[in-house]
Symmetry: C2
Subunit: 138 residues, 2 copies
Amino acid sequence: MDNSDLKKVGLKVTLPRVKILQILENAHDHHLSAEDVYRVLLESGDDIGLATVYRVLTQFEEAKLVTRHHFSEGHSVFEIDHGTHHDHLVCVECKTVEEFFDPAIEERQQFIAEKAGYTITDHNLNIYGICAKCQKST
Amino acid sequence: MDNSDLKKVGLKVTLPRVKILQILENAHDHHLSAEDVYRVLLESGDDIGLATVYRVLTQFEEAKLVTRHHFSEGHSVFEIDHGTHHDHLVCVECKTVEEFFDPAIEERQQFIAEKAGYTITDHNLNIYGICAKCQKST
DNA sequence: GTCCGTGCAAAGGATTTGCATAATC
DNA sequence: GATTATGCAAATCCTTTGCACGGAC
């Protein structure tokens, strides 16, 4: 994903947008909050305001470049949207996020929604737990 | 669930707590935000502050009388906890919430978490869609 | 009567918005 | 050069907290 993606979705190629896109791509675990992005920007010496970070992330979401998630922590986290749906496994200790995809679960969800007369627009499954690493260190 | 439940969990029986418990029980769809509860209180002429609503709901959550959910709308919703785990089907139009429980999905979740080395502490699955009623009225 | 609970207003964190300046095309 | 984006500060939304008063036990 590079600058041409910005043009493709009708967004001007500006420094903040390019930088933020890069940060999201290079993040260790690919799920960052607006604060996280802002902090990385500050560390790299870029003078970009937090308001801009929010604005850019929201634009990216509308352009379907990134997805916004609401884990149970009060704030939003963003990840690059590669077009492949998946759910999340979140470690409540170290906040690491892993992704998974389970066809059996997807199918059951579809079935349940249909049975209840719903047309699915979206769905999200979050499993919260303690990861292997954190279990050892306790 | 009546006043004795309050005593049981170590909370004094006060008017706000009793009223709020009643409101949660009698709610049409059993999922209310703090604002929703507050509005009902106002309508019944009770002079109870919004801060108290939040305090009481938080105490109820700690006492495991109610469960707090974060659907993708920015605010929390609360429901009476009858001790039976279930997931949610949320209509994005009329905001109605239905509950469901699917053993197959529960089992798969357990399996996925184990495979990834996680000990599950909690999990939640929300399916967002348009309910039968809202599909007709559009 | 003691201690806990409540109301009000003020504080708090996350996110959004208004406006003048600065950058892109 | 026109239009769109940015930075800063102020505003907003949801929720929590501090403090003096009132109610439960």
